[in-house]
Symmetry: D2
Subunit: 198 residues, 4 copies
C-alpha cells in the first residue's frame, strides 16, 4: 500500500550509504586482524561485495529516487548511524576476529531476515504488502534475492566453523551475545532513525 | 531554581559513567599512538585524572543521589553515549595522534565552558541560576573549579604546541574542524539524551 | 651466473610468504583508516593484487623449487620478517593513512627498482647477470614486468596526489622520511636474512 | 667475574629504552581494549610502573655509565628491538585483551626469572657470579628485588584469573602458547643483539 513515505526511504538510503562505509572499514579491520591467507581472502571478498552493493544497488536507488551523488556524499551522518558504525569499529579494536565477526553478522543476517520476511508477508493471505507496483520492490528483491541470501548463508557458516574450531567458554559466549544484542539494538535505532527522519 | 528534574541528572551521571570509560580508553589509544616518552607520560597522567574523576566525583554524586554502583554498572548505554564514545575511538583508529587530541579536547573544553558559564550566569543580575541550595552545586563547582580549569588550560596548551610544531595544511585544518564539529554535535546529543531520558 | 645458492632463494620465498601476509593486513588496516569510498576501493584493489601475487607467483615458485604448501605455512618466521611486517602495522596503528601509505610504498617501489635494476644490469656489457637459463628468471620478469611496474606507477601517483592535496609540514615530512628510511633499512635486513639464512 | 663487556651492557640499556616505549604503548593499547574500570585502572597502574622504571632505573644506569639522554634518544633502534616491540603491538591489534596480556607477561616474567636466577647463581658454591663490586649489581638487584618481583606476582595472578574466568579452548590455548613462544624467542634475540652489538 506504499505507506512508507518517500522521504523516509531516501533518508534511509543516504544513511545506509554512510553506514556501509563503516561496514567496509570494519571488514578492513577484520582483514588486518586475520591470521591466515584463507581468512584474509574471505574478508577481501566480502569487502568487494560491500563495494558492489554500494556502487550498483545504491546507484540504482539513487537514480530511481533522484538522489545525486553530491547529496549522498554531503548528507550529514545521523547519530544512529555513527553509533552503529563506530561501535563495529570499537568491537574490532577491543576484541578478536571472532567477536568482530559476530558484530558484522548481526547486520548481514538482519537484512536477510527482513528481505525474506517481507516476501513471506506479501505471500500471505490478506497481506498488507503489495509487491506489484511497489516503489521499494527492488530493495525487497535485492535482500531476499539469491546473491544476498547466499552471502547470509556464508556468514552463518563462518560463524558455525568458528564455534566448532574454537568452542567459546561461558564468558565468551556471553560476550558474543552482548555484542549481538547491542548490534540488533543499534540496528533498530537505525530503522527508527529512518522513520523519524532524525 | 532547580528546574532540572532529578531523573535527568541521574540519567546524565549514569551515561557519563559509561562515556568516561570510552574517554579513558581513547586516551589509552592516544598513549599507544605516542612517539615519545613525554607524550606517553602526558597521556598516562590524563588517564589518572579521568580515573580520579570517576572514582571521586562520580562516587560523591552517586552517594548523594542514591545510585548504587550496581545500578551504575548495569544501566544500559544510550545510543547517544555509544555514538560519542565510539566515535572518539574511531578517530583514534583512523587518524594520527593530533587528530585524536582534537577530538578529546572538544569534550574537555566543553565541560570547562559549561562550568564557567553557569557560574557567570549565577553572578548575573536577575539570574535564573540559584547556587544556594542548588542540588547540583557540587557538579558546577567541580567543572568551574581550579583543578578542572587547569586541565582545560593544559589541554589547550598541548593543542597550541602541536599546531606550532606541526602547522596543519588547509586540508588537515579542515579535517580537524570536521572532528571538532562532529564532537560538539555528539556532545549536544549527549545533553539532549539526558533531558529526554532517551 | 647463478651464484645465488638455491637455499637462499627458497628461504627468501618462504619469508616473503610470511611477509606478504603482514603486507596484506597492513592494507586492510589502511582500508579501515580510509575516509572515502575511493580510498576504500583503492586499498581493496591492492589487497586483491597482493593475494594474486601470493596465489600465482608464489605457487609457481614453490612448484618450480619443490616447496610444498605445508612447508611454506610451517616454516618459522625470521626476526627480520617480523620486524619489517609488524613495523608496517605499527605505522598503521600510530599514524594516519598518509604515513601508512609511505611505509607501504617503500616495499612496493623497492621491488620495482630491484626488478628494473637486474634487467638493466643484464643488458650492460660484460654483465654479471645471465638471463638465459637463469633459474630466477621468472622472479626477475615478474618484478620488472608491466603489471608490477604499473602497480609501482600507481603507488607513486597516490603519494604525489596526497602531498599535493595535503602538503606536509616540515615536521610531517621529516616523519615521512623517518618511516621511509626505517622501511628501507628493514628491507635491507630482509635481503640479508635471505643471504645469511637467518 | 665481570666478563660482560661494558659496551654490551650500554647497548642493552639503550635498546631497552626503545623497547620500553613499545612496552608502555602496548599497555596503552591494552587499556584501550579494556571492558571495565578495574581493567583500565590495572593497565594505567602498570604504565606508571613502566614510566617509573624508565625515569628512575634507566636514569641511574645512564648516569653510572655516562650515557647522555641525547645519546639514549638518538641511538638507532636495532631490528631485534623493532621485531619484539612491534610484535607486541601486533598482538594487541589482532587479538583480544587476554592474548595481549600473555604477550606482555612473557617479558615481565622473563626478567623476573633472570633476576632471581643470577641471585641464585651467585649464592651457589664455586659460582661464576661475583656480586661484590659487580658493575651490574644495581640491575641484578632491581629485577630480583621486591618491587619487581611483586609486579611479576601480580602479572601471574592476572593471567590466572583470566583462565579461571574464561577457560581457553584447545585452540585458544595453542594460540596463547604460540604468542608465548614467539615472545620468548624474540626476547632471546634481544639478549643476543646486546651481546653481538647488532
Amino acid at each position: 500500500m506504499g505507506v512508507l513515505p518517500r522521504e523516509c526511504f531516501v533518508h534511509f538510503i543516504k544513511q545506509d550509504y554512510h553506514y556501509l562505509k563503516y561496514y567496509a572499514r570494519a571488514y578492513g579491520l577484520l582483514l588486518a586482524k586475520s591470521r591466515s591467507y584463507a581468512m584474509i581472502t574471505s574478508a577481501a571478498s566480502t569487502i568487494q561485495n560491500v563495494l558492489r552493493e554500494v556502487s550498483t544497488m545504491h546507484k540504482v536507488f539513487c537514480k530511481e529516487w533522484s538522489i545525486t551523488s553530491e547529496e549522498l556524499e554531503s548528507s550529514p551522518e545521523s547519530p544512529a548511524t555513527t553509533a552503529y558504525g563506530a561501535y563495529l569499529l570499537d568491537v574490532g579494536l577491543h576484541g578478536d576476529d571472532s567477536k568482530l565477526l559476530v558484530a558484522l553478522a548481526a547486520c548481514l543476517l538482519g537484512y536477510g531476515e527482513v528481505g525474506l520476511w517481507i516476501k513471506a508477508e506479501a505471500a500471505a493471505e490478506d497481506t498488507w504488502v503489495t509487491l506489484e507496483g511497489n516503489p521499494y520492490l527492488r530493495w525487497i528483491e535485492d535482500y531476499s534475492g539469491r546473491d544476498y541470501q547466499n552471502a547470509v548463508k556464508q556468514g552463518i557458516e563462518i560463524l558455525e566453523e568458528i564455534v566448532i574450531k574454537d568452542p567459546p567458554s561461558t564468558l565468551r559466549l556471553a560476550q558474543f551475545k552482548e555484542v549481538w544484542n547491542k548490534c540488533t539494538s543499534l540496528e533498530k535505532g537505525f530503522w527508527d532513525m529512518a522513520l523519524t527522519l532524525t
